[in-house]
């Protein structure tokens, strides 16, 4: 199952609702393109909702990291929302859990972005 992305705006934050798998050739490029498009439009407060992500591999992890650094270097913020246990375990093994700002509640995640 390839990855699907839908986008919505809440209080100046762009939420990307992702579903499916983030693997080499199955979503990693989609995230990169989506984030690049948002930055080009001046939307630099980005929340990736991973609740429906069933699987992520090392390429997908790399894409999350690249998206994070791209947004940060552009002066924006990228945060993660609703990690499944599998994705959370993977980020802990790779010591990325503390690098990302990980949230488990959408409302508090949105209010945590700088105004």
């Amino acid at each position: 199952m390839s990855m699907k992305v839908s986008t919505r705006q809440v209080d100046g934050v762009t939420i990307l609702d992702l579903s499916g798998r983030i693997t080499l050739g199955e979503g990693s490029v989609t995230i990169r393109d989506a984030v690049r498009d948002l930055l080009a439009k001046g939307q630099s407060k980005i929340l990736l909702n991973l609740a429906e992500i069933s699987y992520i591999d090392s390429s997908g992890i790399g894409e999350l990291v690249s998206a994070f650094t791209t947004v940060k270097n552009a002066g924006g913020e990228l945060k993660l929302l609703n990690l499944t246990k599998k994705v959370q375990d993977l980020l802990q093994i790779t010591k990325l859990y503390t690098v990302f700002d990980v949230k488990d509640d959408e409302a508090s995640a949105i209010s945590s972005f700088s105004k």
């Binding site: 090392s58 990291v65 093994i93 690098v99």
Partner: protein, 146 residues
Amino acid sequence: MADSTTSRVSFTLDSTLDSVNKIEQTAEQYAQRAGFDEDTIPHIAMAVREAAVNAVLHGNAYDVNKHINAAFEMTADSLVIRIADQGPGLNPDTLPDPLAPENILRGSGRGIFLIRAFMDEVNFRQLHPGTELTLIKHRTPAQSGT
């Protein structure tokens, strides 16, 4: 002759992402048949997928003239998976540590690390040309039926 606790299969595949998916699915099936638990099966499948991605992407670089070999063997005490490419060769000693502070924000370089994290043994063999990775997960006596 295969019985309920031992079996072997091998494939020669094109250097494509379809091959990666086939290898991952076969790994998952073998891990299930070997009796691993529901937490361990996805770890084995992911480790094998990472090895296959390395072979297709970094080894053979999607070259249509190069192939990858994947062999799955379930013995009484282990699940053994071998993935071989025909690429320029991989020296695992030269791979940067993805957990080092200077590497933590790199966009790649975590595949071999995850393979090592999820398998009990990982061995590299140079094939001249190519690299063969052997991934081993030990079965418990209850899993092997002994």
